[in-house]
Symmetry: C2
Subunit: 139 residues, 2 copies
DNA sequence: ATCCTATATTGGACATTGTCCAAGTCAAGT
DNA sequence: ACTTGACTTGGACAATGTCCAATATAGGAT
């Protein structure tokens, strides 16, 4: 994702220190941070960055399709920079750990027309839940 | 779900006016209400019921497995009384309408062992997203 | 029928997550 | 370097949910 900044600049994004820092924080394939976690890490590199800017920037990245918004639980939304390879999520009910997973099959194709109620279905999000090895051992 | 109250009593639930009202509000197969919507409807039947009690009662019903907690978006959790027939959800990205759907196939079986990372996977939640006929027409 | 007590309810303070806005700041084109 | 529209800021506000000490009550025991 090191070329993210380039892609964004190419799309007419104005490059600012704040946006650069947010993009850097999200760098990595298997990160699932909340907005406040992103902010906390951004502050280390750019102490005066505001929460509002982090929220704005994350929202823009989502709109641009560079980052996926994941709502695995009732708590905060999480931001997943692994937006260019379709995948789903496996969440630990104990500690909240999240792994990217790639189920076989195509859930979209598994929804018959009779179950679509005239909707234009464009996307499917699959969340597996269970216990990670550590939490299973503790239980 | 008219026998819900009986089932709960059998499980040692203390029956109170508040709990009865919450159960009545949830009655029905295709309801997906937020906690505050449940509260609003409960207040009609029992004006002095408090928000805290509605939250408590919903939480208990979820724990007992009588109601499913659905988090389709970043907004409020929704409570689905259709807990005894496995199903998934189709959500309109425009207006938020929710339909119960029954995809063919078994998503749980679609997650290979190599993609489980040692987790004990117990559940899968599939959320289809798209536009309902009305919102598609408006777009 | 009445009493007792564990359990449930209440309301309001508090916490978390997120949105909004007016004022100030700055990137980047000219 | 200037200018300008886009970006950032901080703080107020909103929505959702949690927690707690005080009060009330369901349902078994008497």
């Amino acid at each position: 994702m090191s070329d993210l900044l380039e892609r964004l600049r190419g799309r007419g994004w104005r490059m600012t220190a704040q946006r650069r820092v947010v993009a850097e924080v999200l760098d990595g394939e298997h990160v699932h941070l909340t907005a406040d976690e992103v902010h906390a890490r951004a502050v280390v590199k750019l102490p005066e960055i505001s929460r509002a800017t982090v929220y704005n920037t994350l929202g823009e990245l989502v709109t641009l399709g560079e980052v996926i918004e994941v709502t695995t639980d009732k708590r905060a939304k999480r931001y997943d920079p692994n937006a260019h390879q379709p995948h789903h999520h496996l969440v630990c009910a104990g500690c909240g750990a999240i792994r990217d997973v790639h189920p076989s099959g195509n859930p979209l194709a598994d929804l018959p027309d009779t179950e679509r109620f005239g909707f234009t279905v464009s996307d499917v999000e699959v969340t597996y839940r269970g216990l990670c090895p550590d939490c299973a051992a503790a239980a």
